[in-house]
């Protein structure tokens, strides 16, 4: 298919999938909100104002104030930056490392492939969230380590995926042609095989972004990784949890809604990408 044909096809699919298009627009809006966040609100996410603590949403504070009188909306927006950054960094890391390891294993096979397979099996036999908890605790209770832990628990899926996709293409005619025209194995894997696997992996990446956000927020919720007063969705929910039984719902609902919208948007985007790339996979 020519490049313009591809664009036309993508546009056709977007028109046919209103939901995916809406998700794409929402994704752009969410990312823009995170990037330009501090300009969108007059409140400082860290400034406390005890005189106006625990106020329900009103015209001044659209999402209310928390127990220290901080503006919840400003905190939710500021938290988005951190959560998106964590998720993007983690998914990027596991994608790059997973694609290279999986690609090499799928291309080479042999003993290394078998050993990597074993290690992947071990990682997948863990309850993944528990593994992430243990990793953050072991590496040190810092934000960077939420990224590392999330990347590690995602890694097996990328390795398996890249390995399988490369292995089925290894014998293809165009790979032989690339090899016959003097390309080394490194160049074949990185320059020919992986670019062909990339579209299929983009589905995984989009679905994973949503999952990584949930994971990061879950870790902070139980007190690993991010520390107060840093605004972060998981921590905000954990702090709000103390006030839910006395009826201060907005402390949980505001960051919860932000989490839900983000994950929803990346999941729908992933589904849309899958429909675009492989209509047979629709479920």
């Amino acid at each position: 298919m020519s490049a313009s044909g591809q664009t036309a096809h993508a546009l056709y699919v977007l028109r046919a999938n209103r939901i995916s298009s809406a998700a794409a627009v929402l994704a752009v809006l969410l990312v823009l909100t995170a990037v330009f966040g501090p300009m969108l609100t007059q409140y400082d996410p860290l400034a406390s104002d005890v005189a106006h603590a625990l106020q329900p949403p009103d015209a001044n504070h659209w999402a209310g104030t928390d127990q220290l009188g901080r503006d919840v909306l400003a905190r939710v927006i500021a938290a988005g930056r951190l959560d998106y950054a964590i998720a993007a960094a983690a998914v990027f890391l596991s994608f790059v490392i997973g694609a290279v390891i999986g690609g090499a294993c799928g291309f080479r096979g042999g003993a290394v492939d078998r050993w990597v397979g074993r290690i992947v099996d071990v990682l997948m036999a863990f309850p993944l969230f528990v593994l992430a908890m243990a990793l953050v605790a072991a590496l040190g209770n810092r934000v960077e380590n939420i990224v590392t832990a999330t990347a590690i628990i995602n890694l097996p899926f990328y390795i398996r995926f890249a390995r399988a996709e490369v292995a089925v293409r290894r014998q293809a005619g165009w790979v032989e042609a690339a090899s016959a025209s003097g390309n080394g194995p490194m160049r074949i894997v990185l320059g020919f095989l992986l670019p062909n696997v990339l579209p299929a992996m983009s589905v995984q990446i989009s679905l994973n972004l949503g999952w990584a956000i949930l994971n990061a927020a879950g870790l902070s919720f139980i007190g690993l990784g991010v520390h107060p007063p840093t605004p972060e969705w998981g921590i905000m929910v954990a702090e709000g949890a103390r006030f839910i039984t006395v009826g201060h719902w907005w402390l949980v609902a505001a960051p919860g809604l932000a989490l839900m919208l983000s994950v929803l948007c990346f999941n729908l985007l992933g589904d849309g990408l899958r429909d675009m790339l492989d209509p047979r996979m629709r479920t």
Binding site: R118, I119, D121, V122, A125, F126, P127, L128, F129, V130, L131, M133, A134, L135, A137, A138, L139, G140, G210, L214, A217, G218, F221, I222, G223, G234, V237, A238, G240, A241, I244, T245, V246, G247, W249, V252, A253, P255, G256, L259, M260, V263, L264, N267, L268, D271, T283
Partner: protein, 343 residues
């Protein structure tokens, strides 16, 4: 070869094949716990004033003065003799702690799985019967929504609605009202134990404590189950034997519920197995929100206190359950579909 012998052989082979992964889990967790920051010997010494001698003694008593490979060898030997070490925070053997808390986690996970299956299968079937319809889209939307709301948010919002606003749910802490009498333990599941004891008040109390956390978990796992039911139903409904059944003039209900659903159930069973093991490990968050005294909350507390043994024991337990659930699914699969064993 008889059918049961074939199934046994399959089970044995799978079990043997999963042993290296289990060993890997044990070794990996062990090493991971040893790089945890903080010195547990200092943590468990009598206080900040504890002398160097006392700390050294505790370190020696815990075996921390040996090299890591030696410690690992001791740990593996202990596992071989059925001991998972002692928890320093509760002062009990880890195995006993896990035994006490596992029923709570299992009760919650089973309840959630039954609830999720009870919702997901009808939803999936309805969606598959009318693909592309409003029902189909509604099911898809509901499932997508369920995956997107983290359990710790949906749990808290359920508490807000049913405890604070409606006032019909009990105080969301623990498994049973503290004033209700604890039934004698048979199964470890409080609802069933209370019913056996004939104490209906206690049973009602335990059940009402169980509803919200179970719903929270069920919502989160609705999507994989309903989607798999739909996909597998669609595939079966399009197959030749259904067409034949239709041509023979069988009633629609009989075709859908007897012939199609029974054949479509197998892939759903596999997913249900995976969902069960995932929930058991991932319910740290739900257990924390509802102060549920389960194994995951126990492991989290131990992890935050740098108490090695319970975390290691918990991870091993989860991995073993994971392996056994997969094995059970394989065996059931083999019994339901004899073609699987031939492969």
């Amino acid at each position: 070869m008889t059918k049961s012998a074939a199934v046994l052989r399959l089970a044995g082979r799978r079990l043997a094949a999963s042993l290296p992964a289990l060993l890997g889990v044990v070794v990996f967790t062990f090493v991971l716990m040893r790089v945890l920051p903080g010195d547990p010997a200092v943590f468990f010494a009598s206080g900040p004033s504890a002398g160097q001698k006392e700390i050294e003694d505790i370190r020696h008593q815990m075996g921390l003065d040996r090299s890591i490979p030696v410690q690992l060898a001791f740990y593996l030997r202990d596992i071989g003799t059925g001991s998972l070490g002692h928890s320093m925070t509760t002062g009990q053997p880890v195995l006993k702690d896990l035994e006490e808390r596992l029923p709570a986690s299992l009760e919650l996970t089973f309840a959630a799985l039954v609830l999720a299956l009870g919702l997901a299968i009808p939803m999936g079937v309805l969606a598959a019967l009318n693909p592309g319809s409003t029902t189909d889209h509604a099911v898809r939307f509901l499932c997508t929504l369920g995956v997107c709301v983290p359990t710790f948010v949906s749990g808290l919002l359920l508490i807000y609605v049913f405890y604070y606003l409606a006032g019909i749910a009990p105080d969301p802490t623990g498994r049973i009202d503290i004033f209700a009498s604890q039934p004698p333990s048979h199964t470890g599941f409080l609802v069933i134990d209370s019913l056996i004891a004939g104490d209906f008040d206690a049973a009602r109390s335990a059940a009402s404590q169980l509803v919200l956390p179970a719903v929270t978990m069920a919502l989160f796992v609705l999507a994989p189950l309903a989607r798999m039911t739909r996909a597998s139903m669609l595939a079966v409904l399009g197959s030749d034997f259904i067409r034949t059944a239709r041509a023979m003039g069988l009633s629609r209900g009989r075709i859908v519920f007897v012939y199609a659903l029974r054949n479509a159930a197998l892939p759903v069973l596999t997913i249900a197995g995976i969902v069960f093991s995932t929930m058991l490990g991932a319910n740290v968050l739900v257990e924390k929100v509802f102060s549920w005294p389960g194994v995951a909350a126990y492991a989290l507390d131990a992890l935050l206190a740098t108490d090695y043994a319970p975390v290691q024991g918990f991870v091993l337990l989860m991995a073993v359950i994971f392996v056994f659930v997969n094995l059970l699914v394989d065996v059931l699969y083999g019994l339901a579909d004899p073609r699987v064993n031939a492969a």
